[in-house]
Symmetry: C2
Subunit: 423 residues, 2 copies
């Protein structure tokens, strides 16, 4: 690790720590006013953002980024407007900080409860989409945390310009300007230094592909809130309503395919496979969805739509594409066993009209979200009403599922006494 990178992260870390202490108890009004000023500044700086963004786009083309990647990188008028709007939406959310819960009086008259407080300093390491810079800054400021942002080198100029614009806005508010800092170097060693800066950073949130997340997990000595694979299942039960079953599976798979909460595997009870599978397979096939199935699926569907024989690997694959693995199962137990063995514990769906079956599935399946008769695509901070999200956690500790403002906070115990002593 280069000394320059260590020194840089050390400086940034110290400033962040100091800013975090000032920010932790800033009133909501001041935080919200600053957020609106940040949104205004993004709009005001539109031209500069687009000039800087053009540099990244040109470099990206030279470096052979795909059209899809260039698209995600591009700061169009609309993207900039929606970044600003996103910040204003965060300003409109309730402030979680300072909430006191479970306050009660003990036998010795001590008042004991819990108060919600910021985590402190959050490090965010992300790829590609430059709008994460604005999103993450807004969520951290609102939840009273200082943030250190490290974007991908492919968006270097864009991220730096966005950070400069946000800083202009922050100058007009009471949030300390060091509350949002960008690591302005493309040196990869800076990421390593950030991942080990225990003394300054309370938590690391990686946002990006598997490669990035694996690197963060391997190197970080700081706790990580992460988001791994989304191998999500939809199980059509013997007591499913056929129309709902087809719609929910189709929506879960096809509404958007490149996302973590898309359905990757369909499990279907053998009793209804014969009636439901052919119609469903036909609809998927017409939408250009590739089907990969077990032998029974091939037997039932083969005449309606092409089915590639599924291998063991299919059950463990996150396609992120218009591909669906299909397996016919004997019963609920076999479905739950399959899910237990292959799920990434992200989102699991059952389609059934049977109450007892639904409740058993909800109780026993282990995932960040378990759903009855709804599309897997609903596992999302906006859909759940959190107002915004910083990714979807597949961890079990601290926060599971969409990470909203509350996921960026913790609770400390507070004890109010009148001279109580322990005997």
């Amino acid at each position: 690790m280069s000394n320059d990178s260590i020194k840089l992260i050390d400086e940034i870390g110290k400033k962040a720590r100091k800013a975090a202490r000032q920010l932790a108890w800033l009133d909501s009004g001041s935080k919200n006013a600053t957020l609106h000023a940040m949104a205004d500044a993004l709009i005001a700086c539109k031209k500069i953002l687009q000039v800087e963004n053009e540099k990244d786009l040109e470099a990206g083309e030279k470096n052979g980024l795909t059209d899809a990647m260039l698209d995600r990188l591009r700061l169009t008028d609309q993207v900039i407007a929606s970044m600003a709007e996103g910040i204003r939406q965060v300003a409109a959310l309730p402030d979680p900080i300072g909430e006191i819960n479970h306050m009660r009086r003990l036998a010795n008259q001590l008042q004991v409860g819990k108060m919600r407080v910021p985590l402190g300093v959050i490090g965010i390491i992300y790829e590609s989409r430059p709008n994460v810079t604005a999103d993450a800054a807004a969520l951290c400021v609102k939840s009273g945390n200082a943030v250190i942002l490290r974007g991908g080198s492919e968006a270097f100029h864009s991220n730096r310009a966005i950070a400069a614009a946000l800083a202009q806005g922050m100058e007009k508010g009471r949030v300390p300007s060091d509350a949002v800092q960008v690591v302005s170097t493309t040196d990869r060693a800076a990421v390593s230094a950030l991942l080990k800066a225990d003394q300054y950073v309370d938590i690391i949130i990686p946002r990006g592909g598997k490669g990035l997340i694996q690197r963060v997990m391997d190197e970080a000595t700081i706790p990580v809130i992460k988001h791994l694979d989304g191998i999500c299942h939809t199980y059509i039960d013997a007591d499913a309503d056929p129309a709902k079953a087809i719609d929910i599976t189709f929506n879960g798979k096809m509404q958007r395919t490149g996302v973590c909460n898309a359905t990757e595997t369909l499990l279907i009870h053998e009793k209804v496979a014969k009636t439901i599978l052919p119609a469903l397979a036909k609809r998927l096939n017409q939408a250009d969805c590739v089907l990969r199935g077990c032998p029974e699926t091939i037997r039932l569907v083969g005449e309606v739509a092409p089915v590639i024989p599924a291998t063991e690997e299919d059950w463990d694959t996150e396609y992120l594409a218009a591909i669906l693995a299909i397996r016919v199962v004997k019963n609920l137990e076999e479905a739950m066993d399959h899910i237990d063995a292959h799920s990434s514990r992200h989102t699991e769906v059952i389609v059934t009209e049977n109450h007892a079956t639904a409740m058993r599935f909800v109780r026993e399946v282990d995932a960040s979200a378990v759903m009855v008769n709804a599309s897997s695509r609903f596992n999302d901070g906006f859909q759940f009403g959190l107002g915004a999200e910083m990714g979807i956690s597949t961890d079990k500790l601290h926060v599971r599922g969409p990470v909203g403002l509350e996921g960026l906070t913790c609770e400390k115990w507070i004890v109010l006494g009148d001279g109580q002593l322990r005997s």
Copy 2:
């Protein structure tokens, strides 16, 4: 790492995973009945426990364990009775599993809420006190988790005998016997294997000295709930009631000295140092507490009691003994700056009659528990009414402060629909 150890942990892990799935949704009545049977079995096996314990005590004497260590290792009639009583107390606690919170209806009529569920498989690595075996087993069974226990080699025979007794009890109940497993080898490589068994273990909880916790942090690839130093401060404010200030400091320091929530440093406002410090120092000195102070402390107290000049190191030392570091500060800000720089974020106390000062301290000081006018010794699961605890977490994520049953659980989102699709 030896292949035998990896194989052993692999076998134990597989069984634990299977047991966890069965245990997760066992009804409270069955779990409680099993816990009572486990308590009964401990009492019934008293003789065997003591015979096995004698082997550890003899080995301990040969290996030069101190009297204090031998004392903590000894399974007297009373220790066994209180282990059994501890299990019964856990049985009497409310079952946290299955609780559904924040259930609400979204605009599209989806019902969305959170359900409390077990973490899964918990690995506990601990030293010395064999009663941890019974405590931890009871807390894990009650919270629906399977547990893998690895005690210290100095308590090898005792732990194995306790586990065998608990297993006898479990045979009479409906909890799968693999829900509580002990790693029965003194091979240290087994610990390394356990710390890396991601595929089976959801969380590691180390209980013991700094050496153990550091090793776990360095080696674990599984999330850890840990408990590091307790460098706790009591700050006597300018508006403190002198009698309360003296009692609270004395109790915080001397009620029990070898524990994490004992006060290690006293900070005192210069306005009241002259009146309060001499009387407090005298009382501490009479109780054989060693004082280590700043120059101003020495000036004020020197004639009443001996004070060793404190060095910078003192402010960062967890004495775990009858030693108190004392520093006179100019004001609340200087006290909070000192705490921010030196605290281990375990327990922080202010003594004051001033409401605004108390509220500011409560808001701004970052620790697992912040107290007003109460002894630092109250930061404890039993004192806070949790009924039992698995240590006190100094982490910020997931659980802060005493880890009770709820700390051994997480929440998953549940979504109840009627065919909703995402558009």
